[in-house]
């Protein structure tokens, strides 16, 4: 479910850091640099990157289509390919038996076994459909805050590191304490906040 759905789950972030050079040029560069790339390198099991919020197949963003007023609206698309382990095991067994018969050897060395397994995995990857996940991100550039449409740890880790890689900015989750340091502006209150310890709310 995207951020624009009727019911949404949102993680709120503070965007920390400064963009180098012209702000909007750097944003554009970051979006294009981190645009979605399919799984195309051997060994890769994840393809990831920004796509348009209203169309997860659009990774070109013509005319800076991600821009809505002061907001940058993006989706992080994550394609994952997983070869079922049992299928891989069956194929590896079949192929190693064939190889042993051809070479007349008793067993494969661990390097040969590893190489065979990788080769079979790459072949099988081409026969499996990826699972496609799409997570929305809205970045309010005027308030340096971002809303991410998922709570799952893995999705959050991915968006935090991808955002850093593309824009050089840090997404800091607005957990209660960090939000509290922003809401309390009085020095005495901030000091009291830092020294707070949990209290018992029952007698």
């Amino acid at each position: 479910m995207g951020l624009l759905s009727r019911s949404v789950s949102i993680m709120r972030y503070r965007v920390r850091g400064e963009l180098a050079g012209s702000f909007w040029d750097s944003v554009d560069e970051g979006v294009k640099k981190g645009a979605f790339r399919e799984i195309d390198t051997p060994g890769d099991e994840v393809g990831m990157g920004w796509v348009a919020m209203e169309d997860f197949t659009d990774r070109d963003f013509p005319g800076a289509s991600y821009l809505r007023g002061n907001y940058v609206a993006l989706s992080l698309r994550v394609d994952t390919i997983r070869v079922p382990p049992r299928i891989l095991e069956i194929q590896v067994r079949k192929e190693s038996a064939k190889l042993l018969e051809e070479t007349g050897k008793q067993r494969l060395s661990s390097a040969q076994h590893r190489e065979l397994k990788e080769r079979i995995k790459e072949t099988l990857k081409r026969q499996v459909f990826p699972s496609i996940q799409v997570f929305d991100l809205i970045w309010d550039t005027s308030k340096a805050v971002a809303y991410f449409g998922a709570h799952a740890v893995k999705a959050r880790d991915r968006v935090e590191s991808h955002f850093k890689k593309c824009f050089g900015l840090t997404l800091v989750p607005l957990i209660p304490y960090i939000r509290a340091t922003e809401l309390l502006v009085d020095k005495d209150q901030q000091q009291a906040l830092e020294n707070l310890k949990p209290c018992s709310m029952a007698r």
Binding site: I10, Y71, I175, L183, P198
Partner: protein
């Protein structure tokens, strides 16, 4: 760009320490919010600001944060939570997450507010006008901006309640008035 009041940088270890050491803040806030809402017939008056209507709905999770092993209890079902929830509070548990509704002006929002991460689950805003009914040159952008403004409104309401709590929690009034009030409320509901 407007910068936030606090610009402190956090490295990952600082952040993880903060997350675990200060997790009680979110739990205490939710527990206090329930007390405040129950005591004021759902209408919480934030001094000098506004009145916010806060209702605790059909789901609540409480846990014992200081225990060596997690002790969690989840309550579901409309109005059923009150008795069991207060019983869990008497055991020293605090609210980790709750489905609540908040309303400060015309708009009503429902959400599952989570104490540890201060995140918003299943946030329901009032409906946005369909793009076809928005009288603008760029209807899609209009619908987007309206939805984002509703999301922000809901967060501002929660922030204003959290700020009210923080000001009390960091003042002398917490120990002298507010906390004894919470404890009396927890206790008075026994039996």
């Amino acid at each position: 760009m407007t910068q936030p009041a606090c610009n402190k940088e956090y490295n990952i270890m600082d952040f993880l320490d903060l997350l675990s050491e200060k997790a009680f803040l979110g739990r205490e806030f939710l527990t206090w919010l329930w007390f405040k809402s129950d005591q004021s017939a759902w209408r919480i008056e934030i001094p000098g600001k506004k009145v916010v209507e806060v209702r605790f709905l059909d789901k609540m999770t409480l846990d014992l944060s200081d225990a060596d092993t997690p002790q969690t209890v989840t309550l579901k079902g409309e109005y059923s939570g009150l008795r069991e929830g207060l019983a869990a509070l008497r055991e020293g548990k605090k609210i980790e997450e709750a489905r609540i509704s908040v309303k400060a002006a015309d708009n009503d929002f429902a959400m599952i507010l989570k104490g540890k991460w201060f995140s918003f689950g299943s946030l329901r805003t009032p409906p946005v006008l369909p793009a076809s009914e928005v009288d603008e040159e760029e209807p899609l952008e209009g619908a987007f901006l309206e939805k984002v403004s509703l999301i922000e409104e809901s967060m501002e309401i929660v922030d204003s309640l959290f700020e009210y709590f923080l000001k009390l929690r960091t003042s002398d009034r917490w120990e002298s008035e507010e906390l004894p009030g919470v404890r009396r409320w927890v206790e008075s509901s026994s039996g």
